[in-house]
Amino acid sequence: MEELQISDNLCDHCQNKVSVGHKFCSHCGSAQNYKEVVIHSKKWPNIQQIGLFFMIEILCCTTSLLIEEHSLTTLFCIDGIMGIAALLFFFNSWSETKNILKWPGFSVWKLMGLITATILASIMVTFVVDHLNELVFKKEMEYYSIFAFHKYGTWLMFASIALYPAIFEELAYRGYLMQKLLSVVDEKEAIYISSILFFVIHFSLISVFWLLPFALFLGWLRIRTKTLWYGIFIHFFFNLTACFLDLYPLEDLFGLVFQH
């Protein structure tokens, strides 16, 4: 039945019948895949746009590395520029990206399950990362020191480390970047590339053990669920747990439990 319908294809140029499997019209000679050719010719400009976006990200992140004395002002300035860039690129491709802001097949149970798994994974990763950093770099990782002096330091830390990346990194990497990549490569490759770029921009080679799998999972989830929202929640709770453990280290929590 399906074959019968396909065999009734008409040439876009001369409207004569074109049989199944015929690549050119035998009446007028025009190629039957000109739409695909047009799509292919747009791939290089899309790659250039992705390159521009990533260059801006690199520029912002290296600026942050070049600043010797970090303050909340510089941190928020750089975050602000990166956030604006993410929004501009995302909304510039609004016709392609708007659909991923919808939430088809929303499920509270699925969301709660994912959040629970994320919190557990984050506890495990924080524990492993702490030990790995001590082993490889002989130093501890901590987020709070830059926020500590401020009256609302804890809240600012949550906003800067949990809320901001959850929204803007997801809009940038699983949103804009992945959507643009999907117009160049297939879904699998889009997941790989967006995850590797997400890992690379964090400037931490050792994070290959957790950041890359985390990004691959978020990419896979974004493709599978066709929405950005699960990723935003997972990213938020992953980072929030890490912040929480920075304020209340696991050893202290264990100590409290065992004392009682």
Binding site: V18, S19, H22, K23, F24, C25, S26, H27, C28, G29, S30, A31, Q32, N33, E36, V37, H40, S41, K43, W44, I47, F54, I58, T62, L65, L66, V136, F137, K138, V184, V185, K188, E189, Y192, I193, I196, L197, V200, I201, F203, L205, I206, V208
Partner: protein, 173 residues
């Protein structure tokens, strides 16, 4: 059912039926003038040569990922033996990850060239930037090699896309 014919297209050598004005596989004008037929064959040949050149560019670009891995491995051995003992373990871990990553990208390049080259290029650029921040003089060390690698990879990415476009235009898989 199509009529079977012993006639073969002059351009792609696929069979065709006498009622066809154009070849349904390559678009060759059976009833065109000699000039039109020659133009079609010449155009197709040029595109096939372009495709072959582009495939070579892609191969070279993918091989450059192995070159990066090799150069990194050699410099890592040198750095390992000249570094302070307390830094040796950290450097070893970092370089094993880097060499492993570029080797993996090289292997991936055989099946997924765009993923391999985009990832390899971004990682390579980031490493050069981090080296530059740590020690600005490193930018001049092997500058020609660095520029060549970046040019090769960018050209490689473009070549993959161009080759795909030509395949679509020629209607070949």
């Amino acid at each position: 059912m199509e009529n079977q014919s012993d006639s073969l297209c002059n351009s792609c050598y696929r069979p065709f039926v006498p009622s066809d004005t154009y070849c349904n596989n390559c678009g060759f004008p059976f009833q065109g003038t000699k000039e039109e037929k020659d133009h079609h064959i010449a155009n197709r040949t040029v595109k096939e040569i372009d495709l072959s050149d582009l495939n070579r560019s892609v191969e070279s670009a993918c091989n450059s990922l192995y070159w990066i891995a090799g150069i990194n491995a050699v410099s890592a051995i040198f750095i390992f033996f000249t570094a302070a003992p307390e830094d040796q373990f950290t450097l070893l871990i970092m370089n094993v990850i880097l060499v492993g990553a570029f080797l993996a990208f090289g292997v991936l390049g055989k099946t997924k060239p765009i993923t391999a080259m985009v990832s390899g290029l971004s990682l390579y650029v980031i490493i050069q930037i981090l080296n530059l921040i740590a020690d600005p003089t490193t930018i001049f060390k092997g500058i020609i090699f660095k520029v060549l690698i970046i040019v090769y990879l960018v050209k490689g990415i473009r070549a993959v896309l161009e080759a795909d476009k030509i395949k679509k235009e020629l209607n070949i898989e």
